[in-house]
Symmetry: C2
Subunit: 532 residues, 2 copies
């Protein structure tokens, strides 16, 4: 998500979200911190979305809840996905949706002149964005690859990009995802060729798992199904939804009679069945994962079936995908995946394509974006090699403020930023300390020490109760802990220390030491002292 400001007005390009990593225990999704935009205290003129992937549009409903946005601009398919998303969030009236039309020339949005350039990516209808103001011309490539033979024939518009380069680009923000990878990303069409080599040879069922938004890949799989006399069932909520949207908008060409319900499909002989499904990342509740672990009501893998996992695991998902492949193999399927067959092509440009883009745009200033630091650094090296002086390459952290003037661009300031964690219904209420607690308990469990102090004839009776969870509870140790609790409290009381907080602190430290000494583990110790 990038904010552009000019003459007091703001537009935003993309409004993405991130998926939590394992260390974000229990967090559902991650948003950028919108404080800066909220602090502006006036509406945003427009949000421009470059394509329909979640890391570019997934934050939109949350942004719209926080900030007034006059217009959302996107191409037709992206708008289709966004509409469905806003409906689900009850936000269909929160803003005005406007169609971005790459071939119709620039539009004026407040003081910005904005144009759209078609690029090829792993979802149809992706665009680069050109923003012109009196300060200069900015090109944000969006996510792209230089696919010269895309499935829909809509290429990255190198002619238009060259024209922009000739006019002069003052600042280029470029996708860096694959900057570390040498060479060129294969055309999406290559995946279709792989399907054509694989599917005709199989006499069992064929399952193809890919991202639900990869409409071109879905088209290619269905095309091969038709050519080989197979009917198709689409399984998985997001894929069914996207196939519907894409068919309605004309982005997916599928004859009605090819699409069957899973229960209809299973009436056919195996060699007439193809199943398209979600779960290419091994997501826990996805169709493919359920199928792999015999937990899907309608699909059971049988010996002779072939599963094509047409995706590459996103870093962090490797083990889940690995487990799914293992489960499918145990059930008797042959599993083809990107490590052993050409069944996937990236949506992002590799180094040679980035060089081409740099040659086309010849920007005065390059700002590598989209990708971890290591990828941005690799993109920066490509920029240097392309002749951009080192001082004109900006690697900006989140929150950096870049000023563009007719004299050039530079980092001039920083605004407070960060991430907002969404957990259950709460947005932003998972504090760091809660995550740290969860990690602690996850590592070593928890031992709760409840002590009641009862006065009886002037003497205080100390009764401990222990509750242990996630921590090997040996009776002998728990008995020892109980005695230690009584001893700690009685010693403190004898020393005239009776403040609850202090008693709890001493219990925490004393019991923690004892347990560590006996077990070399550090469960979270939670003392609760009650006076009755």
């Amino acid at each position: 998500m990038t904010v552009y400001e000019h003459r007091g007005e703001a537009i935003v390009v993309d409004a993405g979200m991130a998926f939590p990593r394992d260390e974000h225990l229990g967090v559902d999704l991650i948003l950028p911190d919108y404080s800066y935009l909220i602090g502006r205290g006036k509406p945003v003129r427009a949000v421009i979305l470059t394509h329909g992937h979640e890391d570019h549009v997934g934050g939109l409903p949350y942004l719209l809840r926080e900030i007034e946005v006059e217009e959302v601009w996107a191409t037709r398919l992206t708008l289709g996905f966004v509409k469905s998303k806003l409906d689900e969030h009850g936000l269909s009236r929160a803003t005005t949706l406007r169609e971005a039309e790459p071939d119709k020339g620039p539009v004026d949005i407040g003081p910005f002149k904005v144009d759209f350039v078609r690029v090829a990516h792993s979802i149809p209808d992706a665009i680069a964005v050109v923003i012109e103001t009196s300060a200069g011309r900015i090109v944000y490539t969006g996510d792209y690859k230089m696919d010269h033979t895309p499935v829909d024939g809509i290429r990255t518009d190198v002619g238009r990009l060259a024209e922009l380069g000739n006019l002069g680009v003052d600042l280029m923000l470029g996708d860096s995802t694959n900057a570390e990878r040498p060479g060129t990303t294969p055309s999406e069409r290559r995946v279709g060729e792989a399907f054509r080599q694989i599917v005709p040879l199989r006499d069992g069922r064929v399952l193809v798992a890919c991202f639900a938004s990869n409409i071109h890949r879905i088209q290619q799989a269905i095309d091969v199904a038709i050519e080989t006399g197979r009917s198709v069932a689409v399984i998985g909520r997001s894929m069914r939804k996207n196939v519907n949207i894409a068919r309605n908008l004309g982005y997916l060409d599928v004859p009605d009679e090819i699409l069957l319900k899973p229960e209809e499909l299973s009436q056919l002989p195996p060699y007439e069945q193809m199943i398209l499904c979600t779960g290419s990342q091994g997501e826990p509740l996805s169709a493919l994962t359920r199928i792999a672990f015999h937990d899907h009501a309608k699909v059971k893998i049988e010996r002779g079936d072939t599963v094509i996992i047409s995706a590459k695991p996103i870093p962090g998902n490797e083990l889940r995908v690995h487990d799914a492949i293992n489960g499918l193999a145990k059930a008797g399927a042959e599993v083809l995946h990107e490590e052993i067959a050409e069944v996937h092509a990236s949506g992002h440009a590799c180094a040679e394509e980035l060089r081409t883009m740099l040659a086309l745009l010849r920007p005065k200033t390059l700002m590598p974006v989209h990708g971890e630091f290591r990828m941005q650094a690799a993109h920066a090296r490509l920029g240097l090699e392309a002749g951009i002086p080192e001082e004109s390459i900006l690697i900006a952290e989140n929150g950096a403020v870049i000023e563009l003037t007719p004299n050039g661009a530079s980092i001039v300031d920083e605004v407070e930023t960060g991430v907002t964690l969404v957990d259950g219904l709460g947005v932003g209420d998972v504090a760091d300390v809660a995550l740290r607690d969860r990690r602690h308990m996850a590592e070593d469990g928890v031992l709760i020490v409840v002590v009641t102090l009862t006065s009886s004839n002037g003497d205080v009776v100390v009764s401990p109760e222990l509750v242990a969870r996630g921590f090997g509870e040996q009776d002998a140790l728990l008995d020892e802990v109980k005695s230690e609790v009584v001893e700690i409290i009685e010693d403190l009381l004898a020393d005239k220390i009776s403040e609850i907080k202090l008693l709890q602190e001493h219990l925490h430290d004393g019991i923690g030491r004892l347990v560590y000494d006996r077990t070399r583990r550090r469960p979270m110790i939670l003392p609760v002292v009650l006076e009755v």
Copy 2:
């Protein structure tokens, strides 16, 4: 770990351990369940170790604590590693160490005739094991690749393997790790060639991270350091230990004057420095990870440094390696890793090499081992293609009992087996339920509800105390929970329900529902009811 029994005597081949995955929260390492061996009630004649990797020798100290083992057989370097390990565990007198000498012919171990065949792997001195009894001839390949130009010149002994094939192999247990990968694993020498291309071009420091046991790779890195006028510091406990052992035993050839302490090395200009370090898997406390996150006392990355990560992430470690690369790039280093440069070669045979092995041994029965099911299944397919009938290919789960007679081999029984989790000082005392509890708390935190019931003039006073951890603690919600606690208890008491267990159950369910309703989260609810 495989147990072979004949005429009432047992030998064991390999005694490995596994590393925990993220889902094994807080577990330190994973051992096989030794119950079957313990239940035999008599000593094991010998443990034979094929090479010094942890997944083949790491369980030995734990095994020796449980079972009497008369002899441990291994080659000289493996023995060197094992000796050091047993010393650390205070087990240096627990068994007799015997040197396996591949070129000296078979040895008799009880009723078994055992022979050793040299194989190339990513650690020197690896062997395959041949076991002969009156029931037939068994060949276990160990971990191997067909490296025909290994760094130490000690090739996989294809001549001897062919001889065994000509004599007749009744049962082959074959490494399946890379069975899914087509083609041939590159020679280890290729990695040295990559070092030779990379290092001379750099004028900053060069760091090389690899497995501490990959002595050949360490040798190649040091050779290139010498050729390019660099001195070397070795950083990381396990790598220093292994370099020492390997030098003492003559497996590593390093002139004394090349090896410096890190603080001495840092006196030299950057282009005369090479650092060998651990951490190629992004392990949290390893040298490279500390260096990447500015947490190493003696090494600070500077702009112009080059880091070579000479390893491939083991499934599950990708994100850690990814983070380390990112940290190193942020610090200014150029990072070369196996995805973008040829700085790693696997230690395991790919499909074409497995075909070669099958052609050399021509086993009557093939049992794919070492590798997940999916890899064993791929190995089985290669066996089928090599002409082994389907009924003579055994994919055996852990615990399977295979009977070998002169008429063939088959799965005849199953013994109870499983894994033993080691956590802190405790071996095997982390129950599944503890892990499940940890996972639950890790996802959603914990809410402890302590209720004291005090009698006062016949009335019962209900006082709730709440402790929340790892769970967004909003005061309003906690107040609501308190009221609900009092209401639940008072209702139950009014209905004459006062058994503590029942009160706790109702609290658990009622409070769980309330919290889920308000937050869509399911913290672990731990009710403690105390009567005073």
